[in-house]
């Protein structure tokens, strides 16, 4: 018998750890599925309301926004379908903050696995992104139901915008979850950083105010470009283009103009490209730091 590489029935000699990164995760979908189920099971275990919490929290937040911003500050009168405006935005912003929070903690939380078993470690941030995605499904159902109720007439752009918005949100969340979960192992102050970002995200997307307000104050300046360079803001706008604008009764929209930035779809596609690049960068950061996970934890 020879030791020639390649012709052995068990294949060639290889380094033992799985270093194929995200590809390794998608090759082991069964494990990913189990980790997602585990997360769903464990997250609300031993709590009275259980899964209902993931509806309660956004509901309470939504009511507060609507009451304070819509009624007390009076935006309800100047923005058509203000409730839908908030809700379509909230889906996006809360998706981002949830993945950011859960994703950042994902590796540290699974330290018993990371320390003892050989798993593609990208599995954990990917699983927490998947869990958040799962939680997003009922929220979309609510939005669609609300849209149908008020009379939703989507055009082709609406569908493209919707798909684009979700794609941007998924890729940017995955990138952030990957990079931050790895950084959090070495630098535990990432937790505080993440909280701060979460707070900023809430205000940096047109959620509690319409796009028209942004244009009025910073339209045409470089600040407008900075504003639109934020993937969360872009995904929010796209989602509103998909659900909110096509639901506005004709005639009402004229009160606030413009509803959306110019070249929204083009900007969206460019943003998606950038976010995909960011996933690549995040994977590089992750791979770079991953070698030390088992000993740092």
């Amino acid at each position: 018998m020879t030791t020639a590489v390649g012709d052995h029935p068990l294949g060639p000699l290889r380094p033992p750890g799985d270093t194929t990164g995200l590809f390794g995760v998608f090759r082991r979908r069964y494990l990913l599925k189990l980790l997602v189920q585990k997360e769903l099971r464990v997250r609300y275990q031993a709590s009275l309301l259980g899964l209902a919490w993931s509806y309660m929290k956004p509901l309470v937040r939504f009511s507060m926004y609507y009451f304070v911003i819509g009624l007390l500050l009076g935006l309800r009168d100047s923005v058509p379908l203000f409730a839908l405006h908030i809700f379509t935005a909230m889906i996006m912003t809360s998706f981002f903050t949830e993945t950011l929070n859960a994703g950042t903690k994902s590796v540290v939380k699974n330290k018993s696995l990371v320390r003892k078993m050989n798993v593609p470690r990208e599995m954990f941030p990917v699983a927490s992104t998947a869990v958040t995605t799962y939680h997003m499904i009922p929220q979309f159902t609510i939005v669609i139901a609300a849209c149908l109720l008020v009379g939703w007439s989507p055009d082709r752009t609406a569908f493209i915008a919707g798909a684009l918005g979700i794609s941007i949100m998924l890729t940017i969340s995955l990138a952030v979850a990957l990079a931050f979960s790895a950084l959090n192992v070495t630098f535990r102050d990432i937790g505080n950083f993440v909280e701060t970002i979460g707070m900023m995200v809430m205000w940096s997307a047109p959620q509690l105010y319409p796009w028209d307000f942004v244009v009025r104050i910073i339209g045409g300046t470089w600040l407008e470009q900075v504003y639109l360079a934020n993937p969360v803001a872009m995904a929010t706008l796209l989602n509103q283009r998909a659900f909110w604008t096509p639901a506005i009764p004709p005639g009402e929209a004229t009160e606030i103009m413009p509803l959306m930035p110019e070249h929204l779809l083009t900007r969206g596609f460019i943003m998606l490209g950038c976010c995909l690049l960011l996933v690549g960068v995040a994977q590089l950061i992750f791979s770079r730091l991953e070698g030390n996970f088992a000993e740092r934890l």
Binding site: R14, G17, K38, R41, V42, N118
Partner: protein
């Protein structure tokens, strides 16, 4: 025979203290160079294990056995040198494996099996065998967090042993179980060995190592001190004198 595990000039050091905050880092950098004290857990180890060989890994506490095992299993990456393996690796690095305390025994069997590379059908197929071996039918729906350490060890071993791996790694699992279970484990390990799979076995129990392995590696302060027949390794370690103390674990 083809090589199954090749460890080539492998070193691994651990950082003993992490200066984590920016303040600490700046202060340290000012005090002449920012450097963390490190500790060489494995120091320039080189050896080859052939397919189907059963090798005992021995040495005192802190000699680097577990680190070496983690390097072979891929949990840790070497700082210098290379580790190469052929085929599927399964085993038990620490007693509680990667069990999730809040999940039931049943759920953990599936999760652990998947981590070790099994798919759903494979776990389904082996489920009864695993439960039977671990002898935990009654507690399958109890969260593993409520298991005793012996019970988790049994479950961990049962899952790991059920994988059709080419390399089987066991780290001192047998220290936890009761004598009947130890006996069962040792029987299973000899079975694995007789199937021609590679075994790396960490134990302080010389009788166990003698029964299972022909060859032993002895680590001393991270360096490979001895590589050869088990009997000589025992002599090298001066373990001969107290050989009888826990001989019960060695019965097969």
């Amino acid at each position: 025979m083809a090589e199954s595990v090749v460890v080539d000039h492998v070193s691994k050091h651990f950082t003993m203290l992490n200066a984590r905050t920016l303040k600490q880092r700046v202060v340290r950098a000012r005090q002449g160079g920012f450097r963390n004290p490190t500790f060489l857990a494995v120091d320039d180890a080189s050896f080859t294990i052939d397919q189907g060989e059963a090798v005992g890994l021995m040495g005192l506490n802190g000699s680097g056995k577990s680190t070496l095992l983690k390097l072979i299993s891929g949990v840790l990456r070497p700082d210098r040198g290379t580790v190469l393996t052929r085929g599927r690796i399964a085993g038990l690095i620490e007693v509680s494996a990667g069990f999730h305390p809040q999940l039931s025994g049943r759920e953990n069997i599936y999760l652990n099996g998947a981590i070790l590379g099994m798919d759903e059908d494979e776990v389904d197929q082996k489920f009864d065998q695993i439960v039977d071996f671990a002898d935990l039918e009654r507690f399958l729906d109890t969260p593993v967090g409520r298991y005793s350490s012996g019970m988790s060890a049994r479950l961990g071993f049962a899952v790991a042993a059920s994988v059709d791996s080419d390399i089987f790694i066991i780290d001192e699992v047998l220290a936890v179980g009761d004598p009947p279970f130890k006996k069962k484990c040792l029987q299973r390990i000899s079975q694995v060995r007789d199937e021609g799979r590679t075994i790396v076995f960490v134990s302080h129990n010389t009788t166990q190592v003698k029964r299972l392995c022909e060859r032993a590696l002895v680590l001393e302060g991270g360096r490979l001190g001895f590589d050869g027949p088990v009997a000589d390794a025992v002599h090298y370690l001066k373990y001969d004198e107290d050989d009888d103390e826990d001989a019960e674990g060695g019965e097969i």
